[in-house]
Each structure stands twice: as structure tokens, then as C-alpha cells.
């Protein structure tokens, strides 16, 4: 399958214009920044705030916007006509994902600046966030593909939000059961661990979370691309 940057860019520009004029969706851009101001006023005494901020923003911004972009095209049947143009599956997905990626990265950067967050290892955190954004874009794509309308898409994000933001708070809610140790392998907990790395860390402390997150990302990206092709063939 060929990838043409020219076509992907055309889709990027088109989606950017649509996104910026659709206030119902573009308002989700301020979610991370809003949370950042909220937590900053609570002070640095709040533990786990930065982890919660990143996880909730990844769902409410990255996942939701991607799901809505795909579902809106499905609702208007424009995705079907896009398939009849020379643009390939990857062109369309890359064009859309690039937009969501840029938006998420920008919003998260501003949010962490507002929070005054300083990571122990900047590069490890950047790598983990980049991988996480791609993971949540894939999850958003899957949500969008399973919904027929914009309304369904915004609702379908809720289960995804529960699955992906709940693990860090699960021990607080249900107590410390051994079975909850499985949750340590979820990407959200791994991201939290990286974000709250103590200053005197070892290389192994960085490597393990990064590997686990990238495994999730690769699996979900493949699932979303395969699902995209299959769902659109059925239409």
C-alpha cells in the first residue's frame, strides 16, 4: 500500500478546517489546560495529579476527537467516497491522526507547563507520551469505526475512558487485591510510573514502562488499521 504525503496533507488540512470550525468538538482542546489550572491551585501536595491529568486528557482529547473525526465522515458517507479516490487507507488514517497528534501534543505541553511539572527524565517522558498519544489515537479510531453517528462516537468513548483511566485509581477503590497486580501492565499505570519517576532512577526503570507502552501501541495500531479496512469493505 502506497503512502502519498501530498494526499495525507490534503486530508490533514481539510480535517483541521473542519475541526477548528466545529466548536462542539474543538472545545475538548481546553480540557487538559483546564485541569492543569485546577490542579495548580490545589498545589504540589496533590499526589498523582499529573498522572491523572495526562490519562484523562488522552481519552477526552485524543481518543474523543479521533473517534468524532472518523464517525462524522462515516455519518456523511464521505469516507466511502474517499475510498474511491486514489487516497489509500494509510493516507486517510495518517492525515487524520497527524492532526489529532499535533493537537494532543500541543495541549499536553501547555498543560504540563501550567502545572509546572518537571520530569526526572525528559526524553523518557516525551517518548512515553508520544507512544501513548498514538495508542489512544488507535483506540479512538476503533471507537469511531464502531459508531455510525457523531453522537454514538462521543458515547462510545466512555467505555474506553473507563478501561484506560481506571487502573491507576483501582487500588484506591477496591483495596489491594493480588489480582489487581495485572493492572500494572496497563499503559495508563506505566505512564503514571514514568511521569512520577523519582530523581535517582535506573535505566531499567525507564525501559520497562516504555516497552510495555510500545507493545500496547503496536497491537492497537495494527488492530485499528485492519478493522478500518474490514469495516469499510462491508459498507
Amino acid at each position: 500500500m502506497s503512502i502519498s504525503l501530498r494526499r495525507a496533507r490534503a486530508i490533514f488540512v481539510k480535517d483541521y478546517k473542519e475541526f477548528s470550525r466545529n466548536y462542539a468538538i474543538s472545545i475538548s482542546l481546553i480540557v487538559p489546560i483546564l485541569f492543569a489550572f485546577l490542579f495548580r491551585s490545589a498545589g504540589p501536595s496533590l499526589p498523582g495529579a499529573i498522572g491523572f491529568l495526562f490519562n484523562i486528557s488522552l481519552v477526552l482529547l485524543t481518543c474523543l476527537v479521533q473517534a468524532c473525526l472518523i464517525a462524522e465522515e462515516k455519518e456523511r458517507n464521505t469516507l466511502r467516497t474517499l475510498m474511491m479516490t486514489p487516497a489509500t487507507t494509510l493516507d486517510v488514517l495518517i492525515g487524520k491522526s497527524a492532526l489529532v497528534f499535533v493537537l494532543s501534543a500541543l495541549a499536553l505541553a501547555i498543560a504540563s507547563y501550567v502545572m509546572g511539572y518537571e520530569p526526572a527524565s525528559l526524553w523518557a517522558v516525551v517518548a512515553a507520551v508520544v507512544l501513548s498519544i498514538i495508542l489512544y489515537i488507535a483506540v479512538g479510531t476503533i471507537c469511531g469505526l464502531f459508531s455510525k453517528t457523531l453522537l454514538e462516537a462521543s458515547l462510545s468513548v466512555i467505555p474506553a475512558a473507563m478501561v484506560f483511566t481506571a487502573p491507576p485509581v483501582a487500588p484506591l477503590l477496591f483495596g489491594d487485591y493480588p489480582i489487581l497486580k495485572v493492572l500494572d501492565y496497563t499503559p495508563s499505570i506505566q505512564l503514571v510510573q514514568l511521569l512520577e519517576l523519582p530523581p535517582g532512577f535506573m535505566t531499567g526503570d525507564i525501559l520497562k514502562p516504555l516497552l510495555i507502552i510500545s507493545a500496547w501501541t503496536v497491537v492497537f495500531s495494527i488492530i485499528s488499521v485492519v478493522l478500518y479496512q474490514r469495516r469499510l469493505k462491508d459498507e
Binding site: R7, I11, K14, R76, M84
Partner: protein, 311 residues
Amino acid sequence: MQFQPIYENGELFLPKFELHMSFNQSIGMITDLRRKQLLLNQLADHNQYYVLRAGQNEYMRLTVEELIAFLIRVTERNERVASLMDYFDLREVRKNKIKDLTSSKRMYVTLLRVFFAHQPALVLEEPYFYLEEQDRRQFKRILDDLSKEKQILILTSNLEDAMISCDAIYRLNELGLHPLDIRDSDEDKQEVQKQDEANITLKKISTKRKDKIILFSPPEIDFIESLNGSILVHVGGENYDCALTLTELEQRLLNSGFFRCHRSYIVNLQKVREIITWTKNSYSLRLNTGKEIVVPLSRSKLQELKALLHI
């Protein structure tokens, strides 16, 4: 292109047929909603057919100019936006968002997607349905230009829509694909009118129903029967009273392909599908009017009928 037969509830719903498309000749096909959907489902090959369905929508928040620019870039064509805007005659609305256009203009802009198709065949479902007169003319012009390089098939349930831009028109029903020869039949009609203007009023059969007088042309009539002294004219499953006697009607309809098949029946031979032999001395005629209609045939009339039909 070839279409596969489709059965529904054990009956043939869409017969197998083949359609030969060529350049410079756009084809219109008149059929119902269900058959349109079934046909479009068979045209799923994205390398062969560009299918534009009736439910197609557009990116509402882009302006017309942005949309055309997007379509040019995503299809990797080399045209310039400005020259295309002139060609499409969209200069005046180029800064308007698609959602702010009138519904006819919005449909017209949506239809322009076929212009950017790279497939050799374009299939459009009901393209003219939502268009106003001026947009219809514009779109017809674009389709005419496109037909020089592409094969165009228009699916519609409306004959008038098909006549706007199609060179050949077919009607598709459960019996198959039938070409409609529109131009010729128009000319024929005019000639007929000139020839026997006086006879035309004579050929109409006047009937009565609830104080209304209804006139039927002979080809519309399925058969006529005499029942309890009154004459009933059967048309499309309904019956209407007629004041004339069967003998008078027989005389009048003799030249229109009607036949007195029984003491109390006159049948339109154009509609007879089958001669049923019950026993050696008992016969019936089955009509192909959609509903199951059987008309008795006298033994004495059988020979006459056979002679008439050269059997």
C-alpha cells in the same frame, strides 16, 4: 457490466442481465428503490466504478473553494482551483460554507465529486432529484463533457430525470431490461395523430364509475366480461361499467387486437400469456397482467384463435 440474478422469497426479483456501456453515450436506467440498491451493491469494485449514492453528504464546514481545492489535492490532479471554479460556475458562492448553501446548490457541489473520479465508469443514483432547473443544466453540461472519456450510468425511478442527460434509456423490472426508444416513439405518435385524427375519439372506450365517466385506450384494457347483464371493463385489476353491448365492443375493438373468446368475454390478445387446456373440450387464457387472471375460452373459438395467432 454484468449483473447477477437475485431471488427474493423464491421469486426472481432481479433477473440476470448484461449492459454494454460505451463512451459518448450515457445510459439511464429506470427502476425502483429496492432494485437500485441491489444494483449498486453489485458495483463494489472501486477500480472500475465510481458510485455516487443518493444519500451522499458533504463536508459542511468547508467553503466551496476549500472543498474543490481538497478534491484536487486528494485526487492528485493538476487543475487550478480558480479555473475549475469558473468551469463549475461556482464563482459567486466560493467563499460560502457548504452548510450555508441552498439545498440544491449543496447537492450540486456534492455531485461534482464525480468530476474527480479516476474510474472508467461513473454510476450516479438519482443525481437530478434535488436539483433546481439551473443546477440541473449546469450538471448536465458537466456530465456531457465527462461522457467523452467516461462511461456514465444513471439510476433513477423517474423517466423525466433520465431524459435530461441520457442517450439510451432502459427500464428494469422483474422481467428484465427493456430499452425505451423514446425518440422514435415520439415521431411515431405524431405521424399516427396526423393520419387518423378522426378515429381517435372513436377508439376510446367510455366507462362509468360512481357518476364519473372514464375513458380508456384499448391497450390499457385487459379484458371485458358480461356479468348479469352489465358489461364490466377490467383494467389493471379494477373493473368499470360500460354502456355498450359486447357485440358493439367487439366491432369497435376488432382492429385493436381484441378477440371474442367466449359468449360473454372479449380479451386483449396483447396481454395473453398462455392457453391452458383443462380437458379436451375446455380451455382458458391466462393473462400476464401481474395478477393471476384467467379468462374462459370457448371450444368453438379455439380454432379461430389459432388461425389468428398462426399456431
